[in-house]
């Protein structure tokens, strides 16, 4: 029963195949995080400063992305793409859905960072003669960044882990590539452990960095 733990037909090529899958995972993460962050910053600032009749509908729409399983979002988006006749690859669909998904969370992070800047601080900046734009770039941005960055790192890692679901619409990323190998060599525990290890190595150091940043920045408050 345990012999499979010590004798394996897992080859170097299989490892390369999985590392290629990990590369796809990272690419998906990169595009999703890039798109999600850009959208999230825009929406977050809008949500922080816009009047309620802009704020409330925007919040409600973004809330939809946080209340529906990502898997369902992917399937719906993928079939919708076919319906309207777009010829996007599953990879593109995955990136777009993940980016929207990330933007929904990122918006709240940016907004709470923005609102964490005390109004008095901003008023002080303005009365010292800083312009509205200077107030945003010199005062709000640095302070909000400190509040938001640790959560943003956590979110990025979350999205990285959520890319695992994208194989359902036909992208061969890390988890899917491990499944392919499992189907061939029939050693699920071993192959999955390697996949888990790769995920862990991609996630853990950055998670640690985020925790350290959070701690260090809190000391100065």
């Amino acid at each position: 029963m345990f012999s499979s733990l010590f004798e394996t037909s897992f080859s170097f090529n299989d490892l390369l195949f999985m590392l290629k899958g990990a590369g796809v995972t990272l690419m998906l993460t990169f595009w999703a995080v890039l798109g999600g962050t850009l959208l999230g910053v825009v929406f977050g600032v809008i949500r922080a400063i816009a009047p309620w009749w802009v704020n409330a509908p925007l919040g409600a729409v973004l809330d939809v992305f946080r209340s529906i399983p990502l898997l369902i979002q992917l399937v719906v988006a993928n079939s919708f793409k076919t319906i309207i006749g777009l010829h996007w690859s599953p990879f593109t669909v995955g990136c777009v859905v993940l980016a929207l998904y990330m933007s929904a969370y990122c918006t709240e992070i940016v907004r709470s960072g923005f609102l964490a800047v005390p109004a008095t601080t901003r008023r002080a900046a303005r009365s010292l003669g800083l312009s509205w734009r200077q107030d945003l770039t010199e005062i709000v941005f640095p302070i909000a960044l400190r509040v938001a960055l640790p959560s943003w790192i956590g979110l990025t890692l979350g999205v990285m882990k959520d890319t695992a679901m994208v194989w359902w619409i036909g992208v061969v990323e890390l988890l899917r590539s491990s499944q392919v190998i499992v189907t061939r060599i029939q050693e699920p525990l071993f192959v999955l452990s390697i996949a888990g290890l790769i995920y862990f190595l991609m996630s853990f150091p950055i998670a640690r960095l985020g925790a350290r940043l959070e701690k260090r920045w809190r000391e100065n408050d």
């Binding site: 209340s67 882990k161 525990l189 996949a195």
Partner: protein, 220 residues
């Protein structure tokens, strides 16, 4: 666009899907109850003086937080299978989500525990309470207040995570039922859009009832 939407079969399948939603809710609630229990143990273990306990708790927490939930469910379903432990897809899904919940909630509880000043415990102890009593009557209620909001968030997460059961072959939760209908008719968009609406309502139901509960519980 030359596609005609067929919503009628989807609406006709609504009762089946609602039964599926009930199973989804059931898995989520079970995984939360178990997850909270494990999380409290993990949080206590992480703060214990014994190194082995701390290490075990830390590895559970870090594994749960740094690998995908789907991977954890795979491990429970396929991975344990090669050790001779064969879980059916319901149990595997429940185990995977519970493992994940416990890891995330342990951090939440750790934060909650730290937010209760140690002087409170000392005061309770000097009033003659035992260690367990002090924890149950003094620390827990204050901690609960702090962790309540993250707890409801995790509950929504748990509901969303149950959708992964379909990947390990679960066919009676909401996503499983939807997928079954889908492979029979290939009306993917209609069925899954309807499932999305039900998930949304489920998530809203949880957040609203949590808000109501918080309002009842945490009034001074």
């Amino acid at each position: 666009m030359n596609y005609t939407f067929h919503w009628l079969p989807a609406f006709r399948a609504l009762p089946d899907m609602l039964w599926g939603a009930l199973v989804t809710l059931e898995i989520a609630v079970l995984s939360m109850l178990l997850g909270v229990a494990f999380a409290i143990l993990l949080a206590l273990a992480a703060a214990s003086p014994y190194r082995a306990l701390r290490a075990a708790a830390a590895s559970w927490i870090e594994l749960a937080r740094n690998t995908p939930a789907l991977f954890q469910i795979y491990m429970a379903y396929f991975g344990l299978g090669s050790l001779g432990i064969h879980l059916d897809s319901f149990v595997a899904l429940l185990a995977g989500i519970t493992f994940n919940n416990a890891g995330y909630l342990a951090e939440t509880f750790r934060g909650g525990l730290r937010a209760v000043p140690p002087t409170q415990v000392r005061a309770a102890r000097s009033l003659g309470m035992g260690q367990v009593q002090a924890f149950r009557l003094v620390v827990m209620p204050q901690m609960f207040r702090i962790v309540f909001y993250p707890l409801t968030n995790q509950m929504v997460w748990a509901i969303l995570m149950t959708s992964l059961g379909v990947i390990v072959g679960l066919n009676n939760d909401l996503t499983g039922v939807t997928q079954d209908l889908n492979v029979r008719s290939f009306r993917t968009f209609e069925y899954f859009a309807l499932a999305a609406v039900i998930y949304y309502l489920l998530a809203k139901f949880v957040t609203l009832s949590a808000r109501l509960m918080a309002w009842r519980l945490f009034r001074y």
